[in-house]
Symmetry: C2
Subunit: 467 residues, 2 copies
């Protein structure tokens, strides 16, 4: 995957890193919608790819290229594929590298779960990728020759642009087949890791690891955390590990990190709960991002920096996607008024730091993965007993959030929550399946619209928490 | 001057930092040629500006703005000027900052001595300035909040773009009215300086300072050196001072540093003379510069990396000037074939490092200042006794190079070298005056062209030194 971040663009291709956690139908959709010409697959995922290929609706030929990995062994399924190393060996080492004709040309395509079931294809340009790769260096004061450990999947915003960051610093990429505490901590010691990124759950996993695994880490490791704010207990545990956490916030549409909760020198002297409150904020614009603001969605004027007035987080500048692939309506809506609208509702504190209060889009972020609540609702509606369904995020100490479904049954229908969960499991990737299904009448407006606000309050979601 | 690097562009102006060492006629030329609308002057240089204003040929009004500095005192001449602080006080703090309409728009104008007597106005665009400011950070792994000491004048390539670098790192600018060893070393201690730049003479001055002045420097200071290679003795002396030198090479047309002699980890273990030889090379492309190559000037193809084949150093990319102001011929010549031609002749070593062997342009670099040999020759030709004159660079242990004039007198004319030197002093800024005048017949080709090559060999200039 690291090599593909260079080989594909330099072969004038656009890289679409596929989320290996997705269900085969979603992979098939992306191969079709993105009009993939070739797909590179690791032996661990050949079965997943084989299922996805069987579900494609396009009939255009697709070149399948399979890598080898002695540490994994044989592919999980037989695929009609050419061998990756063979392909490279047939290449011409004298072929001159060709940069893009135009820096605004596409370098990557990243599908993201939006408010509708169908994933949207976010198109990155070279310019944005280069500038966010540099921003990562600037944020971390990252010196030349870092040792970067991959715990963050490269299918999330191209690993927050870090494949290019590490190359720009002439660094070392340390890759893991599986992210577990023993493997991560071993790699940190073995390679003297200096930097890594991940969702809170990755960092928590290290903090919770048995003491003997945590010993002997190289000093001064820096971790970057996004997707949800690091809780106080995690900050404290990371202190003990000697790992300094940087809290960033972003979305696929803005290449990963787009704001940073830049720590001020005096924060470490504050009581832990205050420190956690300060660190929980989304912060200020990332280095080479031009504008990161909380604006009134009607007037597009900045809200007062009073920590109380709610607006919408919006971005503008060089590090914003080209648009959604083959989706001009969604692109136009996302860029209404010349700003990229995140859908995240926030306040701006007197020190300029942004703090998210709610997400206006129906997105649940679980273990760093975006889940569309509408996608789950669509699946629930397909069950014959379901009259109405609404899925909201439920706060979870380990995953950040998990999907919680509220379901109203058809008159006379009889079904247990377990059956609805099993139904979801048939049609959805594991991480998208609701952890809880609550049966009962749904709260609705006078016009019959389901009041998700009310449901979020019931499960104590982020909206109800005033930080 | 630091403020002007932000205030002028944000007021939609173009900043032309004037070299205060120049003669009044040169300043007048720049004000005229650049069509200056306003000039900001420090009290120390009001006499110089008054003389320059008297020599202007344009009659358009020019707003003169004078700063105050209690540490200097009263202006050196009475000028009809408004006060800088008064001007700022009348400003509207709510005025919205306005970036450039287009990133390729001009941000700065920097006059440079070329091969002809009239200085050429090098126009910088915002894009190049921003990218070289970032390159400076990347080269030095410069962390946030550096303490930067100004020994390099900001009128040289906008201080190699460091005013913007320091701002991008939220650093501290330490400014000196006068660069002498005591003041520099005191400032380093007083402000815990982390970084500074300068010509070799600046670093040598610190190395040669009395021992008591050199004590107690903060550890880990990084210095950047350009204009000529740091000699072995200087490297050794800087080691003793605990200052790490980075050797860069560039020209006004490429925003200052454009290549860097990136030190390899094993160089420090080599014998001193070999270390000096390695460090004396101009090196590899600067971080965000796209291409820095030694090309055959005829074919524009790269020379073999054999350390022997001579070609011309050329640059291409984002960090190259827009062009020479109001000089399309010179601009077209400089960019022939799509590359910026430096005029510096060099080889490329097997490790890719560039080493300059000669300058094809008639430029002498003395104490970091460019001097046009043709400009001096023009002045010499104005003396009634002079038949022919040729000025070449003479290696100098302190200044790097100094101008050395060879003069052939008219038949029967009688004049001493001292008189010719005095004549030059009348018409040229002090640093341009030849240190030596050698009388005698000049070597010429069969067509009567003076053979400067021959003269350079006589004075043992860089061309004759094989490193």
């Amino acid at each position: 995957m690291v090599e593909a971040h260079f080989g594909v663009p330099l072969a004038a291709g656009v890289l679409n890193a596929l989320n290996t956690r997705l269900e085969p139908s979603a992979i098939a959709y992306m191969l079709d919608h993105g009009e993939a010409r070739a797909v590179i697959v690791d032996p661990e995922f050949s079965a997943l790819l084989a299922q996805a290929l069987a579900l494609r609706s396009r009939t255009q030929p697709l070149l399948v290229i399979q890598t080898q990995d002695a540490s994994f062994g044989a592919p999980t399924a037989a695929l009609e594929a050419i061998d990756y190393e063979d392909l490279l060996a047939r290449g011409d080492p004298q072929h001159p590298w060709q940069g893009p004709q135009d820096e605004w040309d596409a370098i990557a395509l990243n599908y993201t779960s939006g408010t509708t079931g169908a994933p949207k294809g976010v198109v990155y340009h070279h310019r944005g990728a280069a500038l966010n790769a540099l921003s990562n260096i600037l944020e971390w004061d990252m010196p030349q020759h870092p040792v970067y450990l991959w715990t963050l999947p490269m299918f999330h915003c191209n690993g927050w642009c870090f494949p290019w960051t590490v190359a720009a610093r002439a660094g070392l990429n340390v890759c893991l087949r599986k992210v577990d505490a023993a493997a991560v901590l071993h790699a940190m010691r073995r390679w003297k890791v200096t930097h890594y990124c991940g969702a809170p759950i990755v960092h928590a996993m290290l903090a919770d690891a048995p003491a003997e695994l945590r010993q002997g880490l190289p000093p001064g490791i820096r971790g970057m955390v996004a997707a949800s704010a690091p809780p106080a207990a995690l900050l404290e545990a990371m202190d003990r590990l000697g790992i300094e956490l940087t809290h960033v916030y972003g979305l696929t549409e803005v290449y990963g990190p787009a704001t940073v909760c830049a720590a001020q020198p005096d924060w470490n002297q504050r009581p832990l709960d205050e420190r956690a409150r300060l660190h929980a904020r989304q912060g200020v614009r990332y280095h080479l991002q031009r504008d990161a603001c909380v604006l009134d969605p009607q007037t597009l004027q900045p809200v007062p920096w009073d920590g109380r007035t709610i607006g919408e987080v919006m971005f503008r500048g060089n590090i914003v996607m080209k648009g959604y692939l083959k989706n001009p309506e969604a692109t136009a809506a996302a860029f209404a008024g010349g700003w990229f609208h995140t859908g995240d509702l926030a306040v701006q504190h007197p020190d300029g730091y942004i703090k998210i209060k709610d997400r206006s889009k129906d997105i649940i972020i679980s273990g760093g993965e975006n889940i569309s609540s509408l996608e789950i609702e669509d699946v629930l509606y397909r069950h014959p007993a379901v009259q109405a369904a609404a899925v909201v995020a439920k706060p979870h100490p380990r995953w950040g959030e998990t999907p919680c479904a509220f379901v109203e049954l058809k008159p006379g229908a009889q079904v247990q929550p377990e059956e609805l969960i099993a139904h979801c499991r048939q049609h959805l990737a594991g991480f998208k399946v609701p952890r809880a299904v609550v049966l009962g009448e749904l709260p609705k407006t006078s016009t019959g619209k389901i009041q998700k606000f009310e449901l979020r309050q019931r499960v104590g979601s982020v909206q109800a928490i005033d930080v």
